[in-house]
């Protein structure tokens, strides 16, 4: 009996000890993450403008209605979807391809690797400005090359055309983001046992077969999770759109997150911005739920 009591108190002491250590981070999260988040949700149902902060009447769903009624609203939804699918898809394909190429040995590989990974290290706003000038329809280098090659007769306004502006941003985004996938997949590829390839070679498998029957299944779970993580971060990546087009022309290259960013700067209607933020948050939340489920489902699949 005595020993059991002692055991219990030892356990309680341990729990208290753990709680004491967790408390700072929990409090930090509550104050800097959950308080602003919950406040944001409440703000989305209120009439909050920077000009009149004393008056915050509840206006029901008015802010949501205003956001959904935007003249370029449909293109925001379409772009947000395409932004996720195209950017992540292309980044994955290019990044994976890159990492497979980097598997092989060639002279100057290290230098090449560093060059490939540089875009990933540059700030999105800076990349936006660089690509904005590259796509410039007056003196941009891309137009210059196309005109010199005779593909175009006169420079084309890539960023001023409602049909091309958004895709130009996608190109720039893939340019920066593929390094991310390349780094992750390169690391994953190193975990695949060489024995399996040797065994497959003995069995007479060719390169394509080895890729589909050994490489891909071995790193499948990691790839899936990486894609999901990337999708979540892509939802919240307005910097490049902001830097390159500012959402233009005529709002046709906005995604939800870039719309929120430009409005925070140009408007003081924080109620509506919060409503857009809540919608963005819900989408991200859905992606996160899929991620959590996927993590559980894929657990142990690599073993």
């Amino acid at each position: 009996m005595k020993s059991r009591k002692k055991l219990f108190s030892k356990k309680a002491g341990k729990t208290a000890f753990i709680i004491a250590f967790l408390l700072p981070s929990i409090l930090l999260m509550l104050v800097f993450l959950y308080y602003p988040a919950i406040n944001g949700v409440i703000m989305s149902f209120r009439d909050v403008t920077l000009l009149d902060l004393d008056n915050k009447d509840f206006v029901g769903l008015e802010n949501y209605k205003a956001f959904l009624d935007l003249s370029f609203g449909p293109s925001i939804w379409k772009n947000t979807f395409l932004w996720l699918v195209l950017c992540v898809g292309l980044e994955f394909v290019c990044g994976f391809g890159l990492s497979l190429l980097l598997q092989t040995k060639f002279p100057g590989k290290k230098i090449y690797e560093s060059i490939v990974f540089v875009p990933w290290a540059i700030s999105g706003f800076a990349v936006g400005v660089i690509w904005k000038w590259m796509f410039n329809g007056n003196s941009g280098v891309i137009n210059d090359i196309l005109v010199r090659l005779g593909i175009l007769e006169t420079p084309f306004g890539f960023l001023s055309n409602v049909n091309t502006a958004f895709y130009c941003v996608v190109v720039a985004k893939v340019w920066t983001g593929m390094a991310f996938f390349a780094i992750v997949t390169l690391a994953a590829l190193k975990t695949v046992s060489k024995d399996m390839y040797e065994a497959a070679e003995i069995d007479g498998a060719n390169g394509i077969q080895k890729f589909f029957y050994i490489t891909l299944p071995s790193i499948r779970a990691l790839l899936l999770l990486t894609i999901l993580v990337r999708m979540i971060s892509m939802m919240n990546a307005p910097d490049l759109i902001f830097g390159m087009t500012g959402g233009g022309p005529a709002g046709r290259s906005h995604t939800i997150s870039s719309y929120i960013l430009t409005q925070v700067i140009s408007s003081s209607d924080y109620g509506e911005i919060s409503a857009a933020g809540v919608i963005l948050w819900l989408i991200t939340l859905a992606l996160s739920v899929i991620y959590v489920i996927a993590t559980k489902a894929t657990k142990g699949s690599d073993e």
């Binding site: 700072p24 403008t49 000009l51 008056n55 329809g137 233009g248």
Partner: protein, 472 residues
Amino acid sequence: MKKKLLALLLSGTMLAGMLTGCSSAEDSAEGASVKETTQAAEEKAQAAEETAEAAEESGEKVVITMVTTLGNETRDQLMKDLVEASCDNIELEIITPPSDQAGEKIVAMLQAHEDIDIVEDGLDRHYIENGWIADLTDYVAEWDEYETILPSLKDRQASFDGKVYGLYYGRYERCLFYRADWLKEAGIEVPTTWNELYDAAVALTDPSQNRYGYAMRGNVNGGDYMQMLLQASLSSELMDLATPYITKEGKSIYEYPEAIEACEFWIDLYNNASNPDSLAWGYPESVEAFYSGTAAFLINDAEVIATCEQYMEDGTWGTAPLPVHDETGESWFPQGGAHFCITGFSEHKDEAFEVLKVICGQEGNMELSKINGTLPVHTTAAQDPFFGEGYYAAYATMGADPNYKGFSEAAEYAFATEEELSIIDGFWKEKDALFQELLLGELSPEDYCADRASYYAWAHDSEWVAERFGLD
């Protein structure tokens, strides 16, 4: 066990430190507690004044901290040198937050009553109402050089409630930049009216050579340029300098048929005389189009003169006064005013005003204007050859001509009620996207003007508008 105790102690200390940190941060973040902090700051200021006096006696310098919105090393160094030369007891320290977030950063600093004495661009209703900006009326009354400040700027300084809250150290105005060599080649005179500008721009457009007449700005604030034409067409007959978006009839400027004409003019200018890519252009792209030799005309601020001097050969370009409206003969344009304010909670207001007297005084301001690209704020400056001749001569002409009307952008903010302000806010929200839709032909001039006018429709029933213009 000892280790555990130590660890617990450490984590406890961290927690305590964090909590105190949080509480002070929350105090400053909440608008409601501004008053309390103001009181505390006043007490602090009193105490500091005493120490300042003590410091003066002992020969130590008072450090005046200035926060600027746009960093400029040459300007900042000159301001420091000017202050050092004229004030023995003052040392000027300048802080510049990164420009893309300067506004928010400064608001946060003011909110937290950080140790700032002078703030740039503080003439903001929001700042003044929160008590962040000091009243300088008594100070300027005792300053003899205040008399020669441009009358229009004096009015603007006092436009909020009759009191002076800040001093202008420079003004920004647009002028017309033109390719002198192209005009000469084509035998065209420098345009003086909007229609002449249009005709010349169309004549000089040749897409096969990548040459266009006008360096249009279709993106960020592009609509403001079209608005100049609209305001000029309504002219002083209907326009009031203090309310550039509302006419003397108590209507939005966009309610008049002239607004639709201005839209049509601008659409033609875009389609017939501008690079199609200019739809996506903001400030840097349109300026680049001019100095790189692909556009004949550009309307922009004085600082572009320095850029052109750097990249273009003398004689190939020139500046001219802004075009006037063909019928009314007037030109209306937003006049930017770069200014400094003293913070309401500054511990060294007297010394801070000494600094402003140096920077905004006749001599110091002339020196500052020359290196800063801003136009001087004293009437005496016109006698200086730098501002009376060469590329700046256009501004001297504009300054002397009463038909050139420079107004403070959105000046009606100073009068509008909270409710009216919250409606006006919508005007700025999607303006770039709507202007681009107008240029693309996706939005008709009628719909565009109706949308723009809707944010000022309150002017019909506004009490202060009726009172100001004697309407029923």
